[in-house]
């Protein structure tokens, strides 16, 4: 069912199976046929763990605070048993609440299902914790960090102790501390699994606030920016996917959104997802030629054997043709957006900011966007981007933007602005120094010569801007962080290295030419463009490192800002 999880360097199906087993064990405890009442939020992540074959869902409706009820029914009588499964943790507050409501006692089994890291793809894990960033940086609530550490412990239990931990940022430091503590707690069960991961890199999102704000320009990134990918599914406007039947006259166009699953199980998608969108068109047309040529083959099939062989390939070819049709449609949808003048103008402004042009004064385009009441999130993304690219805005500029926003979109957004300021996304420049140019130059964040078709550097994912977070990962593997000590000091939070000693029997002797495997954990979220950049590094022939990516949440600038917004009514 989830073969794509096992294609990567690390077989993530092992993790999936482990969590499935745990779920099944709980379900088996509750006898009889079951009705499951879900927290609405859970259905997405659970879909990645267990298909309907495992869960026969009878009812679906929401319940607050992430838990799922189970009622198992005894057919013989009117009695019903109730069970509750807390995800990812059985928390005191939750139980207290149930107790206050006087229902705690009616649950026969009260258990927790520590679903921390969910495998999304062969090299991608996410906790899908919507509020992780907000909780950590705004509210000082580290619950998600604790779960991240727990998830990493689970991972180590399955894939061996990770011998080296690197990190940058306050949260990274805390997760590493918790891991070391937890390791002491588990000393009883000596881990005797040969380590699969060589390194763990923990990165705080607030070390790189810039990247998610910029518009992602990879195929997958753009799908996410424009339509939003949720738990590896995307909902698209149906018109482009209408079956082309003759004589239909377009009478009944489908009205329901087209829902597609996007992951590396689909061969074509795996090939194009991480490409710059400008390079996707040529691949699609090449594919189209190959497929139609393959279908043409049937005319050449003369003998029965040849025909038989052709027929045997047919299902695969048809699937490929379907997949091609879907992605051609998606590409057309995206192209409509990317060729619009406004998209171009926005991108120009973003790129100016990122390359350090005119970051210190009020930007005309942003002003016009506000005046025309473009979406507030778009405006906030741009203003924050400018602030980050200038190490904060001059007080006058900042106040001007804020005033404009409040006057145009409403005073209530003052709370959102406060949140953004607290998170450091929007701030007055202090000390009058702009550090961004130093960072940009040292880490080569802006590359003028980008090859979008055949990239040579990660900067292709943003057509010029190389994501800071990924650059840090890249520099860590070669030549090491010692070369960029100065920049690391400018970036917020401590950087550190921890070693987890392995028993002698488990120490790895690397074969020449064998790549290291590094797990990069983004605390506070990661974008698809960053993932694409890391995949690009994995594929480099002389890269020497392959990456597996974990995060608290798969996100983009829009969902990120949205999570930080506060609407008092």
């Amino acid at each position: 069912m989830a073969a794509h999880l096992s294609y990567g360097r690390v077989n993530l199906n092992v993790l999936r199976e482990a969590v499935r087993r745990e779920l099944r064990e709980f379900l088996d405890k509750c006898a009889g046929s079951k009705a499951i009442v879900w927290d609405e939020y859970l259905t997405g992540p659970f879909g990645l763990i267990a298909q309907y074959s495992l869960l026969k869902v009878n009812e679906l409706f929401g319940f607050s605070n992430k838990c799922c009820f189970l009622c198992s029914e005894d057919r013989r009588g009117p009695t019903r048993d109730f069970h509750i499964l807390f995800v990812p943790r059985r928390s005191l507050l939750c139980e207290q609440r149930l107790k206050d409501l006087g229902v705690l006692g009616s649950f026969i089994h009260r258990e927790e299902y520590s679903l921390d890291l969910i495998p999304f793809d062969g090299d991608l894990l996410s906790m899908e914790s919507e509020c992780a960033f907000k909780e950590c940086y705004l509210e000082g609530d580290q619950t998600s960090l604790y779960h991240a550490a727990k998830g990493l412990m689970t991972l180590q239990a399955l894939y061996g102790t990770i011998p080296q931990i690197f990190g940058k940022g306050e949260c990274a430091r805390q997760v590493a501390n918790m891991m070391i503590r937890m390791k002491r707690e588990f000393t009883g069960s000596q881990n005797s699994i040969f380590p699969v991961f060589d390194n763990l890199l923990l990165l705080d999102r607030n070390v790189d606030l810039l990247t998610p704000l910029a518009t992602q320009l990879t195929y997958e990134g753009l799908i996410d920016e424009i339509y939003g990918i949720q738990n590896s599914y995307v909902k698209l406007p149906p018109e482009k996917f209408a079956p082309k039947k003759q004589g239909d006259g377009g009478k009944d166009l489908p009205t329901e959104a087209k829902k597609l699953q996007l992951n590396s199980a689909e061969e074509l998608y795996a090939e194009i997802r991480d490409k710059n969108f400008n390079a996707v068109g040529s691949v699609l047309s090449k594919k189209a030629k190959i497929i139609s040529a393959a279908f043409e083959e049937r005319h050449n099939a003369k003998t029965v054997g040849e025909i038989k062989q052709f027929v045997s390939q047919l299902p695969h070819m048809q699937a490929a043709r379907g997949s091609l049709a879907n992605h051609t449609s998606i590409a057309e949808l995206i192209k409509d957006v990317t060729t619009s003048e406004d998209f171009f103008d926005k991108l120009t402004v973003e790129q100016e900011f990122m390359s350090g042009i005119d970051t210190d004064k009020v930007n005309n385009y942003i002003e016009d966007c506000i005046a025309q009441k473009h979406s507030l999130i778009k405006v906030l993304r741009l203003v924050c981007l400018q602030s980050v690219c200038n190490s904060g805005l001059k007080q006058k500029v900042l106040d001007y933007y804020k005033r404009e926003i409040l006057q145009t979109y409403g005073y209530e957004h003052i709370l959102t602005l406060h949140n953004l300021e607290k998170a450091g996304l929007l701030k007055p420049q202090t000390g009058g120094r702009n550090n961004y140019p130093t960072i940009r130059k040292t880490l080569r964040l802006w590359m003028d010569d980008v090859n979008e078709q055949n990239p040579t550097d990660i900067s292709y994912v943003y057509s010029g801007y190389a994501p800071l977070s990924v650059r840090l990962a890249q520099l860590l593997s070669r030549p090491g962080w010692r070369s960029i000590e100065e920049v690391l000091r400018i970036l917020p939070g401590p950087h550190f290295e921890e070693r987890q000693p392995l028993p002698t029997g488990l120490q790895k002797k690397r074969q020449p030419g064998e790549n290291r495997v590094t797990l990069v954990f983004f605390l506070g979220g990661v974008t698809f463009a960053e993932i694409a950049a890391l995949r690009f590094l994995s594929q480099l022939e002389d890269g020497g490192t392959e990456y597996v990516i974990a995060t608290t949440k798969l996100m983009n600038g829009t969902s990120w800002i949205e999570a930080l917004m506060e609407k008092p009514f």
């Binding site: 928390s91 507050l93 000082g140 707690e185 404009e404 406060h418």
Partner: protein, 834 residues
């Protein structure tokens, strides 16, 4: 062989005086176990045949030097099975009438090593017995049962019921079932009460025996189908008591002429029963009294002191051992019996596979010779074992021989050697647990380890674990934890030293729970020690609750915070909240930022007012400001209330030195009041619109003056105001007004937006009006928008701007613009030439 034979630990233990250097170094893998090693010549010398098929032998386990001052017959005696300890209560009350002399309770190991000795200060004791956990149960005359540990430490007590207080206990039995250990008593009213498990005390008063006027001549506890019954003999009659009824029973095939039963014995497994009658006749049968196995007439009419079964599991032979003052007799299904002379007063202890017999000077074991030994050693045996023995090599031969057997897995041989080695070690005089192999297997190594721990023989237990390679969690760790729990009870050692000693020995040994040890220390009233021990506990989930229990909430809080486990922090917080007064609670939080943020989160959802107090305490005016803003939206309906809440917010912002927020808030207050007025005067919906939208609404409603006024009052920047008006007028399609507006002064946003918006409203005519006024840089765009491709091309050529040229080119469609396209291409070519 030589090494084995020279071992000082032969099974007879006679050479115990040459002490084998305690138990250190006993795990030497090269030496062979010596339990069965002896020279062959004398091996069958002590074999006594009983009938045709079985041999019984009696050999010495230990020679006892426990220096008993009194005869065993003057003591209450209890010896635990499985080579367990022996308890003697000297000076029982029935002899010494003088109450001034307090009796002494002594506890010895099976080898006679003293374990404990204490003066008995309680009431008269009727009977002693050991529980399965090797706890000594002392049944007092008043029905109280006092429970002592192996080392004479008082554990607890319980009562066998109130009615006993009056009637006294006449007799008692401690018995063992699969559920645990039970107690049965016979009261002065000739009634029986029993409890099948003293760990889970449920008293069962047995039914009355009709017409019972005197004490039964003998009685015992039977255990059938998991239920305990009592069998008693009164004169020539036998009665079986279960919890419902009393029924008379008759053993099948009982010889006639019996007028009284003098003794009865039930086997170790409750399967068999033996009855001794006043005619000197012994009946042996099943405990269900349904079947007779055999009978024997010993012609001794004196009541035996003791009678116990002596059989081994899975053996067909049945025998009972009967003891009188000076005579010991083994009888079974044979016309003859085996007789031994007893030199001294002796006591029999039934075991799973034999009988232990101890006296003042010796401790012996009497059992049926196992079939395997018999095969090997029996005279003229032709069994394979015997043939192998012919090679004169015993185990060494086996060890040697097995090399030639390639299909014989060596595991069982190795395991047997290891087991024998363990048995030898615990049989050592100092340890004094004489177990046979079958007993050891029945007991299991885990229980054996528990018993060693109970005897505080920690080093030996650890060595055994290591020798048998038991997993640490089940083995060494568990024993170390027990050791530590014992250690914390040593009150004469300082907390500091105990904690250090424990940590030194335990370190980070996997599976050791410091919190369990700490809980024990706390149980002994050593809170400080418990806290010190908890320092070593890595699992905060264990550490924190115990700290809370010990009322060290603040320490618990910092530990919970260290762990990063927010749920644990909440646990402590809610605890603290109830425990401390509000002021102290807030002060505690103040020093713990992480806890404070969590508590704030909690308050945000559950106690908003407390949240405000928290911000107040910290002088966090910025957050207070935000708090009041939220309140102005959430709590207040009336406009005055909202404005008041905003005023509070503004004040807070001023205090926070956030001029901007303060001013913005004041503006909002002004706007709210104004919107209210607008609603009153003009009708319609204004409240909660943004300033921008308010102005737009006014323009859309035709209130241009008001709109202008508002824009001025709130200082809307010119550029945005132009955009605003432009959009609003275009929405109204008030083209006349738009044109007027465009001419009111020079547009700060240029004229391209005018063109764009007209096109958006599909008014090309109006758009064209503005196209000419668009600045040169944007002119091409404007011209293209209004569809004037030719002119756009001219402008672009004039500008010599490549980007503009391509833009125009991309707008050239087919035939109509063919000429223009050519023009552009020519211009391009020219530009390239230059």
């Amino acid at each position: 062989m030589a090494a084995a034979a020279a071992s000082p630990r032969d099974p007879h233990g006679r050479k115990r005086k040459c002490r084998p250097g305690a138990c250190s170094g006993w795990v030497s893998p090269r030496r062979f176990p010596a339990a069965v090693c002896t020279s062959m010549d004398c091996y069958t010398a002590n074999w006594n045949p009983l009938g045709d098929s079985a041999f019984y032998r009696k050999y010495e386990l230990y020679s006892m030097d426990w220096d008993l001052k009194e005869e065993l017959r003057d003591c209450l005696v209890a010896a635990a099975p499985y080579g367990g300890p022996i308890a003697l209560l000297r000076n029982p009350w029935r002899k010494e009438k003088a109450a001034s002399v307090r009796p002494v309770l002594d506890i010895y190991s099976a080898s006679g090593m003293p374990l404990a000795s204490l003066l008995w200060k309680s009431g008269p004791v009727v009977s002693l017995g050991w529980s399965a956990e090797e706890e000594l149960l002392c049944v007092q005359e008043d029905g109280a049962v006092l429970v002592y540990g192996l080392h004479g430490d008082f554990r607890r007590h319980f009562s066998m019921g109130n009615e006993v207080l009056q009637n006294r206990v006449l007799d008692a039995r401690i018995f063992h079932t699969e559920f645990g250990s039970g107690v049965a008593i016979l009261t002065g009213a000739h009634r029986f009460t029993l409890s099948a498990n003293v760990g889970d005390l449920k008293l069962r008063r047995m039914p009355e025996v009709p017409g019972l006027q005197s004490v039964p001549s003998c009685w015992t506890v039977l255990c059938q189908d998991r239920v305990a019954h009592i069998l008693l003999a009164v004169g020539p009659d036998l009665y079986l008591l279960d919890h419902a009824a009393c029924s008379a029973v008759t053993p099948p095939g009982l010889a006639p002429g019996v007028s009284s039963f003098l003794q009865m014995a039930v086997s170790f497994t409750y399967r068999h029963l033996a009855l001794f009658t006043d005619t000197g006749y012994i009946w042996m049968g099943t405990a269900s009294l349904k079947e007779k196995l055999c009978e024997f007439n010993c012609n001794i009419r004196a009541a035996p002191k003791q009678m116990v079964w002596c059989s081994r599991p899975r053996s067909k032979e049945r025998a009972v051992v009967v003891a009188w003052e000076r005579r010991l007799m083994v009888v079974g299904d044979a016309p003859e019996s085996i007789q031994f002379v007893l030199d001294e007063d002796s006591y029999l202890v039934p075991e799973l596979d034999g009988v232990r017999i101890f006296s003042r000077s010796t401790h012996e074991f009497l059992h049926e010779v196992p079939a395997a030994s018999e095969e090997i050693f029996k005279i003229a045996s032709m069994a394979p074992g015997a043939l192998l023995l012919e090679a004169q090599k015993e185990y060494e031969a086996a060890s040697f021989g097995k090399c030639f057997l390639d299909r014989f897995p060596p595991d069982s041989f190795v395991r047997m050697c290891q087991d024998l080695r363990v048995l030898n070690a615990i049989r050592d005089y100092h340890i004094g647990i004489p177990l046979t192999y079958s007993q050891y297997k029945q007991l299991t190594i885990q229980v054996l380890l528990d018993r060693l721990v109970l005897r505080r023989l920690y080093p030996l237990a650890i060595q055994i674990c290591e020798y048998l390679r038991l997993p640490e969690v089940q083995g060494v760790s568990r024993i170390l934890a027990h050791w530590a729990c014992y250690k914390v009870q040593q009150k004469d050692v300082s907390d500091e030293d105990v904690a250090r000693a424990i940590n030194q020995k335990l370190g980070d040994t996997p599976g050791v729970s410091y919190s369990d040890i700490a809980a024990r220390a706390y149980g002994c009233g050593r809170t400080e020690l418990a806290i010190k021990l908890l320092e070593y506990e890595p699992r905060s989930g264990e550490q924190v609750p115990l700290l809370l229990k010990m009322k060290r909430s603040k320490l618990a809080l910092s530990k919970a915070i260290e762990s990063g486990d927010t749920d644990l922090v909440f646990t402590v917080l809610l605890h603290l909240k109830n425990e401390l007064n509000r002021g102290d609670f807030f002060m505690t939080l103040r020093n713990q930022p992480m806890a404070l943020s969590l508590y704030r989160q909690f308050c945000k959802h559950q106690e908003l007012e407390t949240l405000k107090d928290l911000y107040n305490q910290d002088d966090n005016h910025q957050e207070l400001g935000s708090f009041h803003i939220r309140a102005s939206y959430a709590a207040e309906e009336r406009i005055e209330g909202r404005v008041a809440a905003l005023q509070t917010a503004a004040d807070a912002f001023y205090k926070a030195k956030n001029e901007f927020a303060a001013k913005a808030t004041e503006d909002q207050m002004r706007l709210l009041r104004l919107q209210r007025r607008l609603e009153d005067e003009l009708g319609g919906q204004f409240l909660d619109l943004s300033l921008h939208d308010t102005v737009t609404t006014l323009i859309l409603g035709g209130h241009n003056k008001r709109a202008e006024q508002l824009a001025r009052d709130f200082r809307i920047p010119d550029k945005r105001l132009w955009w605003l008006k432009l959009t609003a007028l275009a929405d109204l399609e008030d083209w006349e007004e738009l044109e007027k507006f465009s001419k009111s002064k020079k547009s700060p946003i240029g004229y391209l937006p005018f063109v764009e918006i007209c096109i958006k409203q599909h008014n090309k005519y109006e758009a064209k009006k503005y196209a000419s006024r668009v600045s040169p840089e944007q002119k091409v765009k404007a011209l293209l928008l209004v569809g004037d491709v030719a002119q756009a091309a001219d402008v672009a050529i004039e500008h010599r701007n490549e980007a503009e040229l391509s833009l125009v080119l991309s707008h050239c469609t087919g035939a109509t613009d063919g000429a223009t396209a050519d023009k552009i291409q020519r211009a391009r070519a020219q530009a390239q030439k230059k």
